[in-house]
């Protein structure tokens, strides 16, 4: 929990329950929102907005993964497949049936949630890294099904998906899409913040820390584990729906296994088991991606191979090394460092 200076106490229950406890934090949050919704889009060009759009979608996907892995302790290395299910669901509905966005978003969430229910079923018997392997197996199976979906998913040819139309406005530019994605990402973050404080969030943490002890305390652990999978997949489905409408064209190659590994890895880099950690992870992931794109030409010169594949190889090595370094040197992630910085500001001039 948040460290506060000596002598600052909560005096009502409402204060005790509130998430934003000090006026300073309220001000910080207000500045953040102003920057996010007014300041940034006012000055950023389409390129920067594009980066932020991808970050926003990644944040939504990572929040789901964080609830599953960070809070419930179930490891998933098939998360991208869920994003794919959400993306394909909304693309199929909008492409074949002509459904509008306000209908495809909840249906993508529901379909992916049901998929999560199915993937969560093995949790009845297994735990730990066996769960990880079962999600890996589901990843291969889901991708295979999408690839062989015939006319429905258009397999290797790719499935087009219309841009979003809300209240008569077509969100076909980066700038218009930016507002939609940010609203969804912020809503998702607030929901996640609150979810982990409820009965369910506490149950997840109990199961993560020791599932046998949690069962002994009277929790129906199977129910909660499956619930964690469902929540995780709903987030992934929403992210997938946004991704489909954002990209406008879906192929299976956009959902490779390696992205699941990066999601999981950068969740650790950000700080697994905290909501801000997931947000940090998404930012670090996509910003390193941008650095590599920026450095791409130089890498192509150093390794005179086919430049495209050498950049891909370099990215893979760099990402893998970042994850390993964080695991070994700072397993609590960027978020932990950020909290140290924050609390030292708050408590200044005292050391603690």
């Amino acid at each position: 929990m948040m460290k506060r200076p000596c002598g600052t106490f909560d005096q009502t229950y409402a204060q005790d329950m509130s998430y934003i406890r000090t006026p300073f934090r309220m001000g910080l949050l207000a500045v953040l929102f102003l920057l996010l919704f007014i300041g940034f889009p006012l000055y950023a060009d389409d390129y920067l907005l594009g980066i932020m759009n991808v970050i926003g979608i990644t944040v939504v996907a990572m929040l789901g993964l964080n609830i599953l892995t960070g809070y419930c302790g179930l490891i998933s290395i098939g998360h991208v497949a869920f994003v794919g299910v959400g993306a394909y669901t909304s693309a199929i509905l909008s492409n074949h049936l002509g459904w509008p966005f306000w209908a495809t978003l909840p249906s993508a969430a529901v379909v992916t949630g049901l998929m999560g229910l199915l993937v969560g079923l093995p949790a009845l018997r297994i735990k730990g890294f066996y769960i990880a392997i079962s999600t890996l197996a589901f990843h291969y199976i889901i991708i295979w099904v999408i690839l062989h979906g015939g006319n429905l998913t258009k397999g290797v040819w790719g499935l087009p998906c219309d841009s979003v139309e809300l209240f008569g406005v077509s969100l076909d530019t980066e700038r218009r899409m930016y507002y939609l994605i940010m609203v969804v990402a912020v809503t998702g973050t607030i929901l996640a913040f609150n979810l982990v404080r409820t009965k369910y969030g506490r149950a997840f943490v109990a199961i993560r820390d020791n599932d046998i002890a949690a069962e002994f305390m009277g929790l129906n652990i199977f129910r909660y584990k499956v619930l964690a999978f469902v929540i995780c997949s709903v987030y992934a489905g929403v992210a997938g729906c946004l991704y489909a409408h954002y990209l406008g064209m879906l192929t299976v190659e956009q959902f490779p296994l390696i992205d699941s590994i990066w999601y999981m890895g950068f969740l650790i880099v950000g700080g697994v088991g905290s909501i801000t950690g997931a947000v940090f992870g998404a930012f670090v992931y996509r910003l390193i991606d941008q650095v590599v794109i920026f450095l791409g030409p130089f890498i192509g010169q150093v390794f005179p191979a086919l430049s495209g594949s050498s950049v891909a190889g370099f990215t893979q090595m760099l990402f893998g090394m970042v994850i390993i370094l964080f695991l070994v040197l700072e397993p609590r992630g960027v978020n932990h460092r950020w909290q140290i910085v924050l609390s030292s500001f708050r408590l200044w001039p005292f050391p603690y």
Partner: protein, 293 residues
């Protein structure tokens, strides 16, 4: 067709068994599940190809150089990555091996980009009739080498002092430590043996189908299914699981491909894996763990 599928599945399965053996050795010794196996298989296959075909080294010298490289890698992996993660939750070691796999496969993409490499044919391409089934000479060599490697493996663990020490360490780290065993060195040795197995398997597959990264990595991923089916701790389980997965995959591909339009062998081992996890999560020969709080 049935007997043809059985025989060819059996022969592929022997390579799966060799792959799975590598994963089992590491898991038994240090309870780390090695997700990087596929990438390491690809790396060693490319390495051997470079030494033998690109640099025209004497096979003996190439072999010694390969052993040296494998030794260095296993030392670095254990010392720099896994040793600091001792005592961390499952997620840490799991992600470390996954990230290691990506580093290795990124390295392979950087060093050996482009299309698949092939070995020059130095075996006569004869077909052998075995009852109603036909097999190539290469497949026979493949099977024989796998069997020899497996035999050497079993002999090492049954007879040699070092092998016995390794088995003892796998049983109980603390007891082994109190007997004066350097447990960390045993882990390095386990990685060495595992990468050696990966190298042999990778060489055999590369020799048959050309050196190519994607299929070799998916080979490593499929050997996950083998390990789960056979049981995480069981060496005989790895062999039986490997042969079973090979045969089942060949049968599945043979009979289901016309229905689903191809590519069944890519996904069939994972379906088996899920079924095993649902019915018998500890595998055919694994230990059923009883947990205490």
């Amino acid at each position: 067709m049935f007997s043809q599928l059985i025989v060819s599945g059996f022969l592929t399965g022997s390579v799966y068994a060799l792959m799975a053996l590598g994963i089992v050795v590491i898991y038994k010794a240090s309870s780390v599940f090695n997700f990087a196996h596929g990438s390491i298989v690809a790396f060693t296959a490319y390495l051997i190809w470079s030494f033998v075909v690109q640099l025209h080294l004497n096979p003996l010298l190439a072999g010694i150089l390969c052993l040296l490289v494998i030794g260095i890698i296993s030392f670095l992996v254990q010392r720099l990555i896994l040793y600091p993660l001792t005592g961390q939750p499952v997620l840490a070691a799991l992600m470390a091996t996954l990230a290691l796999g990506e580093v290795v496969s990124g390295f392979v993409t950087l060093m050996w980009p482009g299309p698949a490499r092939t070995y020059p044919d130095f075996l006569p391409s004869g077909l052998i009739r075995l009852g109603p089934a036909t097999i190539t000479l290469g497949e026979i060599v493949n099977f024989v080498v796998c069997t020899l490697a497996f035999g050497a493996f079993v002999l090492f663990f049954q007879k040699s002092r070092l092998g016995l020490t390794m088995r003892g360490t796998a049983e109980d780290h603390q007891l082994a430590r109190s007997e004066g065993v350097r447990v960390n060195r045993i882990f390095i040795l386990a990685w060495f043996i595992a990468i050696l197995m990966a190298g042999i398997g990778g060489f055999l597959m590369a020799f048959m189908h050309g050196v190519n990264q994607e299929p070799l990595i998916s080979l490593g991923m499929k050997s996950l299914a083998v390990v789960i089916l056979g049981g995480m701790e069981s060496i005989s389980g790895a062999v039986i699981g490997g042969l079973a997965i090979g045969v089942l995959e060949a049968l599945g591909a043979g009979y289901l491909d016309p229905i689903f339009g191809g590519g069944v062998e890519e996904v069939f081992p994972f379906v088996i894996l899920l079924v095993v996890l649902m019915i018998r999560p500890y595998g055919l020969f694994g230990y059923e763990r009883i947990e205490r709080v």
